[in-house]
């Protein structure tokens, strides 16, 4: 038991060190933004896929924004992927098609497998451009975003591109403010540090792009995946394609405003991530492919981020058990001290990362909310652990995953 505990503590220490490494890199090292200066080019044709399932509240905003972006209109086709919507989504999309003839080609999907990956897979029949950009319907791209997300594809090594997600409803309540802090840490520090260090920036499936030839080479969208973005990141990596992160390609999104919606969202992410870990983990770490050693290590650690929640819970339980068992008092004390140290140093690493991100964003007083992150972390650790256990249970019983769409809170555009 004590040795299992030591293994768990070792993993926790590795993730703690990783947090510090990323944050220090972001604060003091050279920052890589190799493609952001490409402002003049013979811009290639792009297809912009807008994933929409019952998005009557938000779909007009994104279509309106896309019609005003600064990209040659004759080289940009917007394809709203209306996935079996039962609300006014279709009607709103068709209104836009009438207003902007030739610039929007809707894909109304009325049957088929559920989930974003399945919808995108079907929509690929309408795509013949080398560059594909993907947005969820609740995002609002700025004028220069399409050029910024397209620019990295001039690099023949780039298979995927990811931009930065910025919550627009962050001031609504405590949850949205905590999510704003988490997003800031995740993108401003985590993703950019991975880009700086040539590790594995993660494709987020929205405010993102993928190269058609790369997508075809890896077998297209995987509609069996619960998180098509994570799945895409690893298949690109295993096939020698790079995913790059553009920290200055920012786009507003809407974050969940209720804990119930947030818990559903993070449980889905956890299940998808764990699924990718089982599918690609060993192959990435030990298999024969084109990823570098540092990509193998970072990619494996990235795959393990969600499974660390139940592992940490197990660590706490084991520490208590070892302590009260009393058979190896010295080991028990060390174990307890180790976990206590983790509580102080390990959590501090995450707090340090988020505080650094807030500083880099030029914000000030929102950093006062850091102590409340304990609440967010507690909810996450139990939700993610629950997701992992239910995933194991589903695997044993053969139950199918049910796709939960994230609820929107914006008032419908008139």
């Amino acid at each position: 038991m004590i040795y299992v505990l030591y293994v768990i503590i070792s993993f926790i220490c590795i993730y703690t060190a990783r947090h510090y490494w990323f944050t220090l890199n972001r604060l003091f090292a050279f920052q890589r933004h190799p493609y952001i200066d490409i402002d003049t080019a013979d811009w290639p044709p792009v297809t912009i896929l807008v994933a929409a399932h019952n998005e009557e509240k938000v779909v007009a905003n994104i279509l309106g924004a896309l019609m005003t972006v600064k990209y040659p209109a004759d080289k940009m086709l917007v394809v709203p992927v209306n996935d079996r919507s039962t609300d006014r989504t279709r009607e709103i999309i068709d209104e836009f098609v009438g207003r902007f003839p030739g610039r929007i080609q809707p894909f109304h999907r009325v049957t088929g497998k559920g989930g974003k990956a399945a919808a995108l897979k079907d929509a690929m029949e309408h795509v013949d451009t080398e560059v594909i950009l993907i947005f969820d319907a609740d995002y609002i791209p700025g004028a220069g975003l399409i050029k910024q997300l397209t620019a990295p594809f001039f690099d023949p090594e780039v298979g995927g591109v990811m931009g930065r997600v910025v919550p627009m409803n962050c001031g609504t309540n405590l949850l949205t403010r905590l999510l704003d802090l988490e997003r800031s840490g995740g993108y401003q520090v985590d993703q950019q540090a991975r880009m700086n260090l040539r590790l594995v920036p993660q494709h987020g499936g929205t405010v993102a792009g993928v190269r058609l030839s790369a997508l075809r080479e890896i077998g297209g969208w995987n509609d069996n995946s619960l998180t098509e973005d994570t799945d895409l990141t690893y298949r690109l990596l295993l096939n020698g394609w790079k995913t790059v992160y553009q920290n200055r390609s920012e786009c507003y999104e809407e974050v969940p405003e209720t804990w119930a919606v947030r818990i559903k969202q993070i449980m889905r992410w956890a299940k998808g991530h764990n699924q990718a870990m089982v599918t690609y983990g060993l192959r990435l770490l030990l298999g024969k492919h084109r990823a570098s050693l540092r990509e193998r290590i970072d990619g494996t650690l990235l795959l393990g981020v969600y499974i660390m929640a139940p592992v940490t819970l197990l660590g706490w339980a084991l520490a208590l058990a070892v302590f009260y068992e009393g058979i190896a008092p010295l080991h028990g004390v060390i174990a307890l001290l180790s976990l206590t140290a983790y509580a102080a140093i390990g959590n501090l690493a995450a707090f340090f990362e988020i505080a650094a991100a807030v500083r880099l964003d030029g914000n000030r007083r929102r950093v006062c909310l850091l102590p409340f992150l304990i609440l967010g972390f507690t909810v996450s650790i139990f939700s993610v652990s629950r997701a992992a256990f239910s995933q194991v249970k589903d695997a044993l019983t053969g139950a199918e995953f049910h796709w939960d769409k994230t609820e929107r809170f914006r008032k419908a555009a008139s």
Binding site: V131, F153, F154, P156, N363
Partner: protein, 355 residues
């Protein structure tokens, strides 16, 4: 002491200690003093002419005075509502005889004219300058920003701190320091010894023009064409002289392209890229570190290096119909290089001597 009271005190103390770090958090949660979304640039998209456009709007209120001054051929001094002092000139050459210089060679006024503007040498202009006609600046001047509706010509050893936009041609004589954004709607020419950061124009020429640019015979969009094939190689790779390589190429080591070779696609070298003389690349050229481009090469797509680029004389990047971007933290360009579009050195760009 009563054990229950002791327990209550202990719990209260512990609770207070726990709540202390939450106090600023509770105050911020209640006041929402920093709860606005991160300010994302939604509209101007980092365009090079952003500041010039802003300045043009800013001086709109001077338009009647510019008209009046032009008609009367008289100089008008005044102060804008934000407290900025200005000098509007009826005749641009009037600046040569006016006492523009104050202490330490500084001219602290915004200068504007509807006609051509000729400025004397050795002055530091700490406010923006507007010229409705041609602009000619004296040697060793220092400018904050210049907007010229026609040609802008900076004499040798001039310095620009923020930006210049010329609707007509822009020319900087030898040894100028161009720190900010320099843009022209037509043409930029930099003479020897100039240092620069960000240049943008349909055509940017370094030094004197020494040959006509003849476009590549087959000009295709690199991303469309490149979709056919990608070759990924570990270690170094050499494309022999005179060979034609078709498709996209990614080399994890150093990529070396021999003289007169032709690449029909885009190429990248993770540990460096070296192009010998007269190489043609129809797509983009990328290096994760350094890049050296030999003489008389033709590159169609973007040219990006993550450390530095040296471009030798006679090389052309982009074309009139297909403008492009050349970017790296450090760029050295020799005279005779032509870039159609953007030449952007994040840290330092210089017009270098022939090696």
């Amino acid at each position: 002491m009563n054990p229950l009271v002791a327990l209550a005190i202990l719990l209260s103390l512990a609770g207070t200690l726990f709540m202390l770090p939450l106090l600023p958090a509770l105050v911020e949660l209640h006041r929402k003093s920093d709860a606005r979304p991160l300010n994302v640039i939604q509209q101007h998209a980092g365009e090079i002419k952003h500041f010039a456009d802003g300045f043009r709007s800013y001086i709109k209120e001077l338009e009647p005075i510019l008209h009046e001054s032009f008609n009367s051929q008289a100089a008008v001094f005044g102060t804008l509502p934000d407290g900025t002092d200005y000098l509007v000139l009826g005749r641009g050459d009037e600046a040569l005889r006016l006492p523009l210089k104050e202490q330490d060679g500084l001219c602290p006024m915004l200068i504007a004219t509807s006609s051509n503007l000729v400025l004397p040498p050795d002055i530091k202009f700490s406010k923006d300058i507007y010229s409705g006609g041609e602009f000619i600046g004296g040697a060793k001047n220092q400018y904050r920003a210049i907007l010229g509706e026609k040609e802008v010509h900076l004499s040798s050893k001039s310095c620009v701190l923020r930006w210049v936009h010329a609707v007509g041609d822009f020319q900087a004589d030898s040894d100028c320091e161009l720190y900010g954004r320099i843009s022209s709607d037509r043409h930029i020419r930099l003479r020897s010894g100039c240092n620069f950061r960000r240049l943008n124009a349909p055509k940017i020429e370094i030094g004197a023009e020494d040959k006509d640019f003849s476009a590549l015979a087959a000009s295709h969009n690199p991303l469309v064409q490149a979709s056919t094939r990608r070759l990924l190689l570990d270690g170094d790779f050499n494309i022999p002289s005179g060979e034609v390589f078709s498709g996209n190429l990614v080399v994890r080591g150093v990529l070396h392209i021999g003289a007169k070779a032709r690449v029909q696609g885009s190429v990248k070298g993770d540990k460096g890229v070296v192009l010998e003389d007269s190489v043609a690349v129809e797509g983009s050229l990328m290096s994760a570190t350094r890049m050296r481009i030999g003489t008389n090469c033709d590159i169609h797509g973007p040219v990006i290096a993550e450390r530095d680029i040296v471009i030798e004389r006679g090389t052309h990047c982009g074309s009139h119909d297909q403008p492009t971007t050349v970017s790296a933290p450090s760029i050295a360009v020799q005279e005779g290089v032509v870039v159609f579009g953007t030449l952007w050195a994040r840290e330092h760009g210089q017009v270098a001597e022939h090696s």
